[in-house]
Each structure stands twice: as C-alpha cells, then as structure tokens.
Symmetry: C2
Subunit: 145 residues, 2 copies
DNA sequence: TATTTTATGCAACCGAGTTGCACGTCGACC
DNA sequence: GGTCGACGTGCAACTCGGTTGCATAAAATA
C-alpha cells in the first residue's frame, strides 16, 4: 500500500474522474489521504496552512463537497455537530460503515476495513437503505494517558 | 390532545426523580412521551405552541438538557446537525441503541425495543464504551407515497 | 415573612455552514 | 493567438442551531 508519492496519487485520483486538478483540490485530497482519521474542516484548514497553502473557508467547503460527490471522500456526521471527512481508499460497499468516536479527544476514526455485521429487524413499513455504526470509546492515544 | 394519563405520567416521572415539576418541564416531557419519534427542538416548540404554551427558546434547550441529565430523555444527533430528543420509556441498557433516519422526510425514529447485535472487533488500542447504530431508509409514511 | 435556591426570559453572542456575486483562470473554439 | 464561456476561488454577508450572562420570577426553606 505504499503509494509512490501522495501528491501524485491525489492528482491521479482527480484526473481519474476527469476533473480539473486544481491546487485546492489536490492539497485537500492529499491531506485527507495522509490522515489516519477523519478530519474536520478546521483540521484540514490548519493542515493546509501548515503546508503554506492558504485558501478561503468557503473554498474548502466547496472542495470537500465536490470530493464527496465525486466519491473521492466521505462525509461523517460527528457527535459535535461537525462534519468530518476522509478519503475513500478502497471501494467500499457503501452498505455499511463503522466509525469510532473518541469521547475524550473527540477524534473520529473511520473503520473502513471492518464491515459491521448486525442483526436488525425493522418494524413493519420501514425500508432499509444502509446502516452506520458509530462506536464510542477511548482512542489509543487517549488510553495511554 | 389532552390525554390525562400522559400528563400525570409526565408529572409522575418528574416527581420520581425528586425535582420540581415546572410547567415547562411537564409540557416538554409530555410532548416527548406522546411522540412516536424523536423530535427536534423546533418540533417541540411548535407542539407546545399548539397547546397554547409558549416559552423561550433557551428555556427549551435547558429543559431538554435537564431531562437528558435526569435520564428522562434521550438526545440523538441527526444527519442534519440537529439534535432530536425522545422520552426514555423503558430502562434501556445504554450499551447500544438503534435509530432510524428517513432519508426522504428526515424524521428520526428511535428503535428502543431492538437491541442491535453486532460483531465488531476494534483495532488494537481502542477501548469500547458504547455503540450507536443508525439505519437509513424510508419510513412507513414516506414509503406509501 | 425573609432568605436562599432554582427556573425562566431576554439579549447578545458564537461558530459551522451557506449564498450571492465579482473576479480569475483554464480550456475550447474560431 | 485572441475571444468566449465555463468553472474555480475569494470576499462579505447571511442563516440557523445552540450557548452564555445576567436580571427577574417563582418555589422551597427557614
């Protein structure tokens, strides 16, 4: 899973969907690809700034939305009314998804690899589309404190 | 919609926790108990207004928060960055919970009766606390349209 | 009744996300 | 190569759910 360089990978992904690989899109996707967890727009902005790349708040929102519609990223609703994003690396089934939410530091981790198996029988009349499993607990870095 | 049982029930619940049964708390809890689904603060406010009972936005927020801390209600984070509340009727295990979110009308139903059974093995270092299962789909009233 | 505690109302605020519009930039087409 | 149109970005102002601080009202306690 060792991509040649993250930048080219991000760029390739952008070109794959036949879209303009603008600096903003490249930077954001690169940041998402490099992250081990789901990032809020603030964290993304901070990361970009640290790389010396500044852009408008609104641009970031639009880029993120665009990445989601292009199926390049994934939007997660957190417990704190903040959306978090992570890059889609594997072609997920999109029928189930698990997230881990640390109750101490608030970080959200995307557990892509594990497909939750649950047995639910919905009441009559409800039509199933997909399920999201959110697990709350303590993340590794908080647990060691 | 003045069901005598509901009011007294709401009042009893309030007195059970040894707290003041103020009009605001009574009305809100009553509304929550009468609802078949999780209500947003707006819906609660509208319902109260319809009963001729008006109170401040802030009061509602505080009452709801208070109900949650008293374990009389339950706070649900929706996909639309809005909190929804429903009365806790059965003593739930609080170790798992399932919600149904209608992707068409946005309503949230609390599936208290069904304890989701899922098999998840967290990556090393993650400590489990509790899980919330959110199921997306179409609710009965939307399905018939 | 006087005092303390608790609940409510009001106004101002915060912060995430959105909208509208102007400007810049890129690609296409003649 | 120059012009045009489409698309991306920046800026400012806005919406809206939720919060905070403080003054006042209503219970509880004495």
């Amino acid at each position: 899973m060792s991509a040649p360089t993250l930048t080219s990978s991000a760029r390739n992904r952008l070109l794959d969907v036949g879209a303009r690989a603008t600096p903003a899109r490249e930077h954001v996707l690169e940041i998402l690809l490099a992250a081990t967890r789901a990032l809020s727009h603030q964290e993304i902005e901070a990361a970009a700034r640290k790389q010396g790349f500044n852009f408008d708040r609104v641009t970031l929102y639009r880029v993120l939305d665009w990445l989601v519609t292009q199926q390049l990223a994934h939007k997660i609703e957190g417990q704190d009314r903040v959306w978090r994003f992570n890059a889609i690396t594997v072609t997920s089934t999109e029928h189930g998804h698990a997230h881990f939410h640390c109750t101490r530091c608030g970080q959200v981790f995307c557990l892509e690899q594990l497909e939750p198996s649950f047995a639910v029988t919905l009441p009559a009349g409800f039509r199933f589309e997909k399920a999201e499993l959110t697990i709350q607990g303590i993340c590794p870095s908080c647990a060691t404190d």
